[in-house]
Symmetry: C2
Subunit: 124 residues, 2 copies
DNA sequence: GTAATCAGTTACCTTTTGGTAATCAGTTAC
DNA sequence: GTAACTGATTACCAAAAGGTAACTGATTAC
């Protein structure tokens, strides 16, 4: 594995910040996955994610469009419909998300799962 | 690559949330790397990261200790010193961080860089 | 005209996160 | 005893993120 270098201000971490800004927050990954799964329309996405409000969804979709994770197109018709579709670029996030998921799973095991815990001095 | 499944509430994403909670925020990764690089003491870590305040550092170190990313030991002596050392478990984050870094770098290229610009015109 | 659907926006509020500055407590050097 | 270093904690603020609920506009169905 590549070794991480330490320069003046660890500017190698700027991209890390970027990524965290783009997929961080409470809803972004949820929304992205919902769209990946085939939900295309605003209300459809909204309904697929419990507790997500229209305001937040609206804002997140804008961010995600800016970051080229989705494209938005308006279909003129009966009740006007918008269609959100994932970009190819968005697919490159799958690997990142799986890595996060993986680590989280192992971390959970590490923290709670080991019943033969060797850690006597756990402080509250 | 493993396919992502969609269940009732996408509970497979709970671990993703965990991970983001643990390494998210403005300072956690910075602090972790500083410690990986060999900074052991409170002031040492503080000084290695510009703009980081004692209050925030103090809080983040506690969180990181709780999450078993570092261990804290107090050495009694002259001016009392504490020593923070990275755990083996923390090392497993390297892969995750590199993945985030990688994606961020490529994303930057995608968004700004398509003119064969490497990294000259990076805006902060 | 009334209701209902789609796709949002707006105003207002609460919670979380981060930042500033002062202070505390212990110890050494002068 | 006063300053300076260590490792913090506390009180007080400011900004960002997130939540609630009402409302706009357009169109279709009744």
């Amino acid at each position: 594995m590549k070794k991480m270098e330490h320069n003046e201000c660890m500017s190698a971490l700027l991209p890390v910040r970027d990524t965290l800004d783009i997929i961080g927050g409470k809803w972004k990954i949820l929304i992205l996955i919902s769209i990946w799964e085939g939900n295309k329309h605003f209300r459809e996405i909204e309904r697929s994610i419990p507790k997500l409000s229209t305001k937040v969804l609206s804002k997140e979709l804008k961010d995600m469009e800016e970051n080229q994770l989705i494209t938005r197109s308006v279909l003129n018709g009966f009740p006007v419909r918008t269609e959100y579709t994932p970009t190819e670029h968005s697919k490159t996030l799958e690997k990142v998300i799986l890595e996060l998921q993986n680590w989280g799973t192992n971390h959970r095991k590490k923290i709670f799962g080991d019943k033969s815990v060797t850690n006597n001095s756990v402080h509250v």
